[in-house]
């Protein structure tokens, strides 16, 4: 049953995970993400699931991959330094195509940085953090209710495309408390991984179907399949073949890019007649809402493009915005990361301005308003 609740973003993530059907969490305490683990330590066993606090960040990532392969939807939560430590195994989950969700509540970095301060400095790490080439899905919620719904969405995408999905919060959203109506779990769309239709013996565990994704058996289902982080062929066993390597790495990208319309989510606000567009995500979008309202009150035609899916980049939609506006302001709590992507995508169709801030303070509505005025 739907119920009104007051909670912080981290807790909404935890509840979203339960609603999505996650029944396993493994992780390590780290500010500002710890509340995800704390709530799941209580909630998971209440629904028959398991929680374990591991000896380190790497172990947390390893355990959720193992649990997911065995057949249980799994997640971990971390922040900056922990996200760095998990990168190798996030790449493993990509290579072995193991669905899982990694919540990264961003804080100021690099290194230990400012553990209790907000930042959005892991945008590029979410895309490129692991070595090698792979497609990536990362979502960035801007509110507490969206923490809930996007956690469900993250699991759905992970299951559908057999890939790790990063939920990129920032400390603002993770610790902000808001009232919202938590949906009745029965009303949610829940996606579960495809199961093999073929019997063991005929089934090839890494042979993709038309959508680029292979069905996935669980442990104990008689398939006795092999999983490796090595380059592997359709059988799942290692292969040194150039052709196999080419096809596999390409598919790790195309199973996402070929389904981009299904994956990409964004919010377009007041963009129809806009001369200036703000691109902002996560906590920064909250200031953008206020700045655009102020700008409109002053008669300035400003709008917001909020990528909810920040990876893959909503390229088509961003390009359409660029064709209509004079200036795009990319506001982000880092030294300027996503702005490079926006410049790449819009190809000079609009003037792209960076409003970057990396001093632990959120970008204020006033700073954004001034940038909008300057960009007219």
């Amino acid at each position: 049953m739907a119920k009104a609740v007051l909670m912080q973003g981290n807790h909404a993530c935890a509840e979203g995970a339960i609603a999505a059907g996650a029944r396993f969490f493994a992780g390590y305490p780290i500010t500002p993400s710890t509340e995800v683990a704390e709530l799941l330590a209580k909630r998971l066993p209440q629904v028959g699931g398991s929680f374990i606090q591991m000896e380190d960040e790497i172990a947390g990532m390893a355990a959720i991959i193992g649990a997911s392969l065995a057949g249980t939807k799994s997640l971990t939560a971390t922040s900056g330094p922990g996200f760095s430590l998990k990168q190798e195994l996030i790449g493993y989950a990509s290579m072995a195509e193991v669905p899982c969700v990694i919540v990264n509540v961003q804080r100021t970095g690099p290194s230990t940085g400012q553990p209790t301060s907000p930042a959005q400095g892991d945008v590029m790490q979410a895309r490129w953090g692991s070595h090698g080439d792979r497609g990536v899905i990362a979502l960035s919620p801007s509110s507490v209710p969206e923490c809930f719904t996007l956690t469900v969405e993250a699991f759905n995408l992970a299951e559908k495309y057999r890939t790790p999905v990063v939920l990129l919060l920032d400390e603002i959203i993770g610790h902000m408390r808001e009232k919202f109506v938590m949906p009745d779990p029965a009303s949610l769309t829940i996606v579960n991984r495809k199961k093999p239709a073929l019997p063991p013996g005929e089934f090839l565990p890494y042979k993709p179907e038309a959508d680029g994704v292979a069905p996935m058996p669980g442990y104990g289902e008689g398939y006795r399949f092999h999983t490796t982080g090595l380059v592997h062929d359709y059988t799942g066993f290692p292969s040194g073949s150039n052709a196999v390597t080419h096809e596999l790495i390409e598919r790790l990208h195309t199973k996402i890019t070929n389904n981009i319309d299904d994956i990409v989510k964004y919010e377009a606000l007041e963009l129809d007649d806009a001369e200036v567009a703000v691109v902002a995500f996560g906590g920064t979008a909250r200031s953008a809402y206020a700045a655009i309202e102020s700008a409109r009150a002053e008669g300035i035609k400003a709008g917001l493009f909020r990528p909810i899916t920040i990876w893959p980049v909503p390229e088509k939609q961003l390009f359409t915005v660029a064709e209509k506006v004079k200036t795009i302001i990319v506001a982000e709590m880092n030294y300027g990361q996503y702005v490079g992507e926006v410049r790449r995508v819009v190809c000079g169709k609009a003037n792209v301005v960076s409003l970057a801030k990396w001093n632990n303070d959120p970008i204020t509505p006033n700073e954004l308003l001034n940038a909008i005025k300057a960009g007219r």
Binding site: I65, S68, Y219
Partner: protein, 272 residues
């Protein structure tokens, strides 16, 4: 053996191991133990790390998982927690389990989680070509210790015992039947169980350390391994260079997954 091959091995042979390597003997001992216990093949997961020994998982006909370097134990921990009724067997090497994976090893032992961990100890990093591991003898030769190893090695069994493992055993590839029996006991044991399997790496360890032919390396195992019960009766001068084999430690202790199942029952309000 033909029967065991057909039943428990995938048609993936020949293996990648060098001539004279002991890893095949250890893998066969694992299979003999599984066969002795008549484990349900669909309720048995084999998890391995990275390195020569960790390639064993790919040859075996179970749900198998070849993980990342050092991480087999935490992958296995995730599996065991969501599949408490499955046998989860970890096959790993000395570098994999005690260097890069050392933290996971001691913490799994501390938790006393019901995993069977077989460490193929060849005293060297074989796959990368002979670098010293935490189990390379002091003053042993390695490509990264061209003047002799300065590190002092772990006693793996003592490490496991100290960390809280409730079943600890050691055997060699010379004592292959004992090894199979010990692995069977380890699988039957409810709690974290370690079996250290001393195995020869003639190419990357033996050659550098002038140990002679693969057969000579196995003779070295025969001549220096002593049953732990016999060792207790030996004089100090007879113990020089010898190491114990057999069950070295066995204790009762609460097992992690069993305890966590009680947590679930409590949390779900159905009591214990």
């Amino acid at each position: 053996m033909e029967e065991l091959l057909v039943k428990y091995f995938r048609p993936k042979l020949p293996h990648i191991w060098c001539p004279g390597c002991g890893n095949g003997i250890v893998t066969a001992s694992v299979v003999k133990a599984i066969d002795k216990l008549q484990l349900d093949q669909d309720k048995t997961a084999i998890v391995s790390g990275i390195g020569c020994s960790s390639r064993a998982s790919g040859y075996l006909n179970f749900d198998t998982l070849h993980t990342a370097h050092g991480r087999a134990i935490p992958f296995a921990t995730g599996i065991k927690l969501v599949k408490p009724d499955h046998n989860v067997i970890v096959l790993t090497g000395d570098g994999d389990a005690t260097a890069i994976g050392g933290n996971h090893f001691i913490h799994a032992a501390r938790r006393n989680i019901n995993l069977t961990v077989v460490v193929f100890n060849n005293s060297i990093y074989g796959m990368t070509g002979g670098q010293y591991s935490p189990l390379t003898p002091h003053r042993g030769m390695a490509t990264t210790a061209p003047f002799g190893n300065v590190d002092r090695p772990f006693d793996l069994c003592e490490l496991a015992k100290g960390a809280g493992a409730t079943f600890v055993a050691r055997a060699t590839t010379y004592h292959a039947n004992l090894l199979a029996d010990l692995i069977a006991k380890a699988i039957e044991h409810k709690g974290f169980a370690l079996v250290e399997a001393i195995t020869a790496c003639p190419v990357s360890f033996g050659r550098q350390n002038k140990m002679g032919t693969p057969a000579n390396m196995i003779k070295w195992q025969r001549d220096n391994a002593v049953m732990v019960e016999a060792m207790a009766k030996m004089k100090p001068e007879q113990l020089e260079g010898k190491f114990p084999i057999g069950v070295l430690h066995q204790a009762e202790g609460t097992e992690y997954v069993t305890e966590y199942q009680k947590v679930i029952k409590r949390a779900m309000g159905s009591g214990e």
